[in-house]
Amino acid sequence: MSIPKLEFPPFHLPAEAEALRGEVRTFLKEVLPTVRSEDRFASWNTFSPDFSKALGKKGWIGITWPKQYGGSERSFLDRYVITEELLGNSAPAGAHWVADRQSGPLLLRFGNEEQRAAILPRITAGECYFSIGMSEPDSGSDLASVRTRAEPVPGGFRVNGTKVWTSGAHRNHYCIALVRTSGQHGDRHKGLSQLLVDLKTPGVTIRPIINLAGRHDWNEVTFNDAFIPESCLIGNEGDGWLQVTSELAFERSGPERFMQNFYILRELVRVLGRQPAKRASSVLGRLVARLWSLRQMSVAVAGMMQGGKSPAIEAALVKDLGTIYQQDLPEIARAIVESDATTDDDLADFLDVAQYATMMAPSYTIQGGTTQVLRGIVARGLGLR
């Protein structure tokens, strides 16, 4: 039979990465006790410049980048371990998250020297934060249909249009916007470019979009004849689509796709007590086993990427399965806690936390490529389309 084999070759994170894990744990043990628990639960959604600066001081932001920009030129797997530890210990890592994961790497790969020198050292110091300017009111999963237009004018571009779901735009420094710089709306992938936008630019208006949990993470970012200098074009004019798809690849198979609400599992262990009934322990153990399996998949993908492969289908599978796990977790946990919590106080506290997790859960299978987009990618990989 001719379908491609799904392989997840077991991979060991190297000894240097495991040694780094120990250092990160020691650091987190020192700083986390002073962080409010609701900020820890929100983890990569929690904006904490203090935490990001402290992490930057340790050299743990942009750790793979060249030393001249404040990086340590360490491996992608070292970064993987840092990400795991931040999530596994529910650290408030939201401020620098996007800059470290995708904006910095994008500038490193496609940006010019002026951009790199000006921005990357500030990112690695934990002082400079980014938003993603991809989605628009009429462009979600179908990103190539973006309408925001950057019209070439002397010395730069005049930008008009609207971006939405722009997380953190109200407190971040920059946004990398995907815009049309040439051609017509119907040209799809052609004529798109990426611009580095200072969010304080005149003509850029930021308005909150509150999510169903009452949180202000998202924004609407409106460009009204905003002038963006030519020096802020990232890469080549017209290469935006190529660049943005490579950026999305950074987003897919990391631990944040299955450990975003890891705290639920930890709280479940707490409320079930040290000797739960067999019914409860087997539910807990099955949840642990599913998470462990996801981690094996994700580590295997990281190993393949380190080996120079680009396992796009495998990465999509990790996100599909991982985000569904995160939706199942609070529900399965809630059901068993209702019958098996050790005390009434524990039960009430847990239900509160689980309710928050349940409210956040719909976002997991939407952000960074919906389940349906991912399944389209997998279907293509299986030779079905």
């Binding site: 039979m1 001719s2 379908i3 084999k5 799904l6 392989e7 997840f8 070759p9 077991p10 894990r21 744990r25 795991e84 596994g88 210990n89 890891f262 599992l265 930890r266 709280e267 262990v269 707490r270 079930l272 007590g273 040290r274 000797q275 739960p276 067999k278 409860a280 322990s281 087997s282 539910v283 807990l284 153990g285 099955r286 642990v288 086993a289 599913r290 998470l291 462990w292 399996s293 996801l294 981690r295 094996q296 998949m297 295997a300 495998e314 599978l317 599909d320 399965l321 349906q372 991912l374 399944r375 389209g376 997998v378 279907a379 299986l382 030779g383 079905l384 389309r385």
Partner: protein
């Protein structure tokens, strides 16, 4: 076994299973026919001795080599106790015994050894009705009992394989040596063996469903072109991928950590995961193949029925979930991430 030798073994075995272990053979076993020729050829190839040292007549492979072969066997629904015999032989050789030819199986359960004789009863022993000897671990002893000295109550499993209950009543042993592993450990090794067979079967289910949907034409086009079908098969792929990744990681950890206690947690997690996803894999594949896949004539049930049986063999997701959950609860919330990230019951 070096990489090249293992690849060669797997290629040869794959060709052999494809040629000699087709639908008719699997169906005949369900009717109660013992495929004597198939077993003879499997022995001639030395497969049951894959992980027995060369000085005992084996191929000198590792536990990992054996598990890789059994994943392959799982993807062919090989309807003879190759897995059970290979593991029984590995354990017997490690206990200082000399594995004998003939199909063997594992009687892992609550047995007692008194004055060198074995008593007790084990249920759901795989291939009990066709095996020539039973291997068990009792305390520190590994015992081998000939089938003639056991009482076998045949009870085919739901995939039509000759499982059964085995009772020993002061049975004499044909071998009794110091066991290289505890009884619990023998059960773990059997669990990782089944998890790898499940990975093989899951892989075959995916390939079968994908191939079918590309061929099957309805409404004037292959049903694989319908987005509803594409998304079902993509979800199937994710469940299959998790099963494979978990089983392979457990096999690696069991091998690297050594026969005595390598990969204990990984095995538990992998068997729990494989068992839990077996139903989703069966459900989606059957849904995608409609009535055709529900017939006895099609081969899909060779794999889905085995997944349904194997998920209970050597510990279901409830059994292994309880082992993991009890250990994690005991260690408490602050140990959770350290244990999980180290693939251990307690860090």
């Amino acid at each position: 076994m070096d990489r090249e030798s293992r690849d060669m073994l797997l290629e040869t075995a794959d060709r052999f299973f494809t040629e000699r272990c087709g639908r008719a053979v699997v169906n005949d076993v369900e009717k109660g026919v013992w495929p004597a020729d198939l077993w003879r050829e499997i022995e001639e190839m030395g497969l049951p001795l894959v992980a027995v040292p060369e000085d005992k007549g084996g191929a000198g492979g590792t536990l990992a080599d054996m598990l890789a072969l059994l994943r392959l066997a799982g993807s062919h629904a090989v309807p003879v106790p190759l897995a059970e015999t290979a593991l029984a032989n590995l354990l017997t050789a490690a206990a200082g015994g000399a594995p004998k030819p003939g199909p063997a199986t594992l009687a892992l359960g609550n047995l007692a050894l008194n004055g060198g004789r074995v008593s007790g009863k084990v249920e759901r022993v795989p291939f009990a009705a066709v095996s020539e000897r039973f291997v068990g671990v009792i305390g520190g002893a590994l015992v081998v009992v000939a089938a003639g000295n056991a009482k076998i109550d045949a009870k085919p499993n739901h995939a039509g394989e000759p499982y059964g209950t085995v009772a020993f009543d002061n049975a004499v042993t044909e071998f009794n040596g110091a066991s290289p592993v505890s009884a619990d450990r023998a059960f773990e090794l059997a669990a990782v063996m089944r998890a790898m067979q499940m990975a093989g079967a899951a892989d075959k289910v995916l390939a079968t469903a994908v191939e079918y949907c590309k061929q099957r034409v309805q409404f004037g086009r292959p049903i694989s072109t319908f987005q509803a079908i594409q998304h079902m098969l993509a979800e199937l792929a994710s469940c299959v991928a998790a099963t494979i990744a978990a089983a392979e990681a457990a096999a690696r950890d069991a091998d690297e950590g050594g026969l005595v206690d390598g990969g204990r947690f990984s095995i538990a997690a992998a068997k729990s995961q494989a068992s839990e996803f077996a139903q989703r894999i069966a459900a989606i594949s059957h849904q995608s193949m409609g009535a055709m896949g529900f017939t006895h004539e099609h081969i899909l049930h060779h794999y889905t029925r085995r997944l349904w049986v194997w998920r209970r063999d050597f510990g279901s997701e409830t059994f292994w979930g309880d082992k993991i959950g009890a250990a994690y609860a005991k260690a408490g919330p602050d140990a959770l991430w350290a244990s999980l990230s180290a693939s251990r019951y307690a860090a």
